[in-house]
């Protein structure tokens, strides 16, 4: 619950940034870039907390069908994250002139936050340790962009920009000069969905096959 409260605070905090920029939509939604870390942490904790306390054995005893367990957790997480994302993004863009770009950026941001939570859950199912799972997710979201900028080979750089969630939020929230970005908003969402889906499928498979 603490990470989700933090996420709401960070995402909604964008409202304080005013509108004095070339791209006010992107400015207001800066909080999404920070808030996604807290959402990922919430997703990770949903499962990893049970592993670190050993509670997972009791849970699996009570719910022997492991895939149902993961699906239930995913559903519950979405039910928690979705209203927080809607509220946070809604507050962040308060007062901006409504436009198709704004609505698109807001909707994509909300969906992105839900997917990032699920990504955290999937990563936790794969590695079963909160620190490691969060490390993987945060590295992809925050370290990747820095490393990619230092990459000497521009071809690799372009490929990685287009296949990792490194600059996803930027691609989703930019409404000015979008031509220079490696991905459009919906394809960026697709990339994030692929990573979240992949982590969940692999996590489900491992949860099904492995001892707890």
């Amino acid at each position: 619950m603490v990470p989700l409260a933090l996420a709401l605070l960070l995402i909604a905090g964008g409202v304080a940034l005013g509108r004095d920029a070339v791209d006010p939509v992107q400015l207001r939604l800066l909080g999404v870039r920070l808030g996604q870390a807290a959402v990922a942490a919430a997703g990770v904790q949903m499962l990893a907390a049970e592993y670190s306390s050993g509670l997972i054995r009791a849970t699996l005893l009570a719910v022997p069908r492991r895939l149902d367990l993961l699906a239930a957790k995913a559903g519950l997480l979405t039910a928690f994250v979705a209203p927080i994302a809607v509220l946070g993004v809604g507050v962040a863009v308060l007062g901006l002139t409504p436009s198709g770009d704004l609505v698109r950026a807001a909707v994509v941001s909300v969906l992105h936050l839900i997917l990032i939570g699920l990504f955290g859950l999937g990563a936790a199912a794969v590695v079963r340790n909160s620190a490691a799972a969060l490390g993987i997710v945060l590295s992809l979201l925050f370290l990747m962009p820095m490393l990619l900028r230092m990459l000497p080979d521009p071809d690799w750089q372009r490929i990685l920009y287009r296949t990792t969630p490194a600059t996803a939020v930027q691609a989703m929230t930019t409404t000015v000069d979008t031509a220079i970005l490696p991905l459009g908003p919906w394809s960026a969402l697709g990339v994030v969905a692929a990573w979240a889906g992949g982590a969940l499928v692999l996590g489900a498979f491992l949860l099904y096959r492995r001892d707890a």
Partner: protein, 493 residues
């Protein structure tokens, strides 16, 4: 004893030792990886050549030092006086349409009198000057700048030993002193004379993705000097000009003419710190951000581990002094992070700069003390970051929220301030109050109002002075450890 116990705990947890080693490795590896990918070349006419290294001043800093100098030798004490007519000049393709060449002067075009230790670029100097739109100034040492209290077109510069005094006068009789500067080590024979220079006209364009793009346009300034005393015996030096002339410079060559005691001097360039002709040395330490994340995790885990495994009761039974236990843990984390930092910086700076130089990349020179400050300061930053992470971990007693908090406070602000659409003033504010203020310790080139380039956070200029920035992090670390210790005393488990 307690220190040894805490050190034993640290070094027997393999993941902490590995995490610390990884932090050092990340700095070195990323520094070298980035260094191998950068190349630099310049055009001389139609030929691609290695970029020339900018000149350095007497303290070893890279400086810009290009101007037209009409001068003569002065041995011992003496002075030079002249009346400087209004500045005139050429600006190529200024805004809004960038489609014509206009008559005009840029705000920091300079014309005036100078005392210089020879005509080599980078040599010590002191000068009084009229500027495009910043009034009469006295400048020396490439960064020192003082505005005259009153205006006037008559300038005088006098030398007494190593003390140079600048004066301004509206009529050539009533002189107002601007200031006296000391040029240590000035030889008995120096060059005195008239100089003119004009920095590039700049257009700053806001980038929709954050930051801004700066485009520079060639300019030239011309000034008429009359009533010059001493009279006669003048020679001309084009200080710091490159041998290759663009078409522009061929039609507007620098130099001077004399007719009836009136000198018309034309020049282009600047006198100040060099910031564009090479890479700032702190850029090779970019891996610090990634390394800090590893250090933060180790620091936080040092703070949370004993609570998670409930061994804190045993520790406090063996050593019933929570303040000393907490201080010893903080000291161990700090010491390990400091060693990690020293190794990382000690390897990265020499190796990465050598790799860059092998690729013909020019690295801007800094003075010895500045280099030492960057190296030691970066290691201290890592040490304080470790202590801060430990404090937050021990305070919150939960690893994930603690890592998030420390990363959000320490690592996120500079990234947001530099690479996003955050307005510069918000970014500057973030880098004043958050622990991220400490990154100021790495800034190699200082900000000075008399330089025309933008000097915002996005350009690598921090709002606080280096050690003040580091002190902000130290305060945060102290506050975190103190609060954690207080909590440990109140409720040990």
């Amino acid at each position: 004893m307690i220190m040894r116990a805490e050190w034993l705990k640290f070094r027997t947890v393999r993941s902490w030792v590995l995490g610390s080693a990884a932090a050092a490795l990340i700095v070195v590896a990323l520094g070298c990886l980035a260094a191998t990918g950068v190349t630099m070349s310049c055009m001389a006419g139609t030929q691609e050549v290695d970029c020339p290294a900018p000149p350095t001043d007497s303290s070893g800093r890279s400086v810009a030092d290009q101007f037209t100098f009409v001068h003569q030798a002065l041995t011992g004490n003496g002075s030079i006086t002249a009346e400087v007519g209004a500045l005139d000049g050429t600006i190529t393709y200024p805004p809004p349409n960038h489609d014509e060449i206009v008559r005009g002067v840029v705000p920091w075009a300079k014309a005036g009198l100078m005392v210089k230790d020879g005509t080599k670029p980078g040599a010590d100097y002191a000068a009084v000057m009229v500027t495009g739109s910043h009034g009469v100034r006295m400048q020396s040492g490439f960064t020192h700048d003082k505005a005259a209290a009153s205006d006037g077109s008559w300038l005088r510069l006098s030398r007494e030993g190593n003390r140079i005094t600048g004066y301004v006068s509206p009529d050539g009789t009533a002189w107002q002193k601007i200031e006296t500067v000391r040029l240590d080590g000035l030889p008995s024979t120096v060059q005195i004379g008239l100089f003119v220079t004009s920095p590039s006209g700049l257009t700053v364009e806001e980038n929709p993705q954050g930051g801004h793009a700066v485009s520079a346009r060639w300019t030239q300034a011309t000034a008429e000097f009359s009533q010059v005393s001493p009279a006669g015996g003048w020679s001309e030096s084009l200080v710091g000009y490159s041998d290759h002339r663009t078409t522009w410079e061929q039609t507007h060559p620098p130099g001077h003419t004399e007719a009836g005691g009136v000198f018309t001097v034309a020049g282009a360039g600047d006198i100040g710190l060099e910031t564009e002709g090479g890479l700032a040395v702190e850029r090779v330490l970019t891996g610090l951000f990634a390394a800090l994340l590893a250090l933060i995790v180790v620091g936080v885990l040092c703070g949370t581990a004993e609570f998670r495994h409930s061994t804190i009761r045993t520790t406090l039974t063996a050593m019933p002094r929570p303040v000393r236990v907490s201080a010893a843990k903080a000291a161990v984390v700090g010491a390990v992070s400091l060693v990690v930092g020293l190794i990382a910086v000690g390897l990265t700076l020499p190796v990465a700069t050598r790799l860059l130089r092998a690729n013909a990349v020019v690295i801007l020179d800094v003075s010895g003390p500045t280099m030492l400050r960057i190296a030691l300061g970066t290691a201290l930053l890592m040490a304080l970051a470790g202590v801060f992470a430990y404090g937050v971990g021990a305070l919150l007693r939960r690893a994930v929220p603690a890592v998030l908090t420390v990363a959000a406070l320490l690592v996120a602000p500079p990234i947001l301030a530099v690479t996003s659409v955050l307005p510069p003033e918000v970014g500057a504010w973030l880098l004043r109050v958050t622990p991220a203020a400490a990154f100021a310790i790495q800034q190699s080139v200082g900000a000075y109002p008399q330089f025309s380039r933008p000097q915002t956070v996005a350009d690598g200029y921090f709002p606080l002075p280096p050690w003040a920035g580091l002190a902000v992090l130290a305060l945060w670390a102290l506050a975190a450890v103190a609060t954690a210790t207080w909590r440990l005393r109140r409720s040990p488990a």
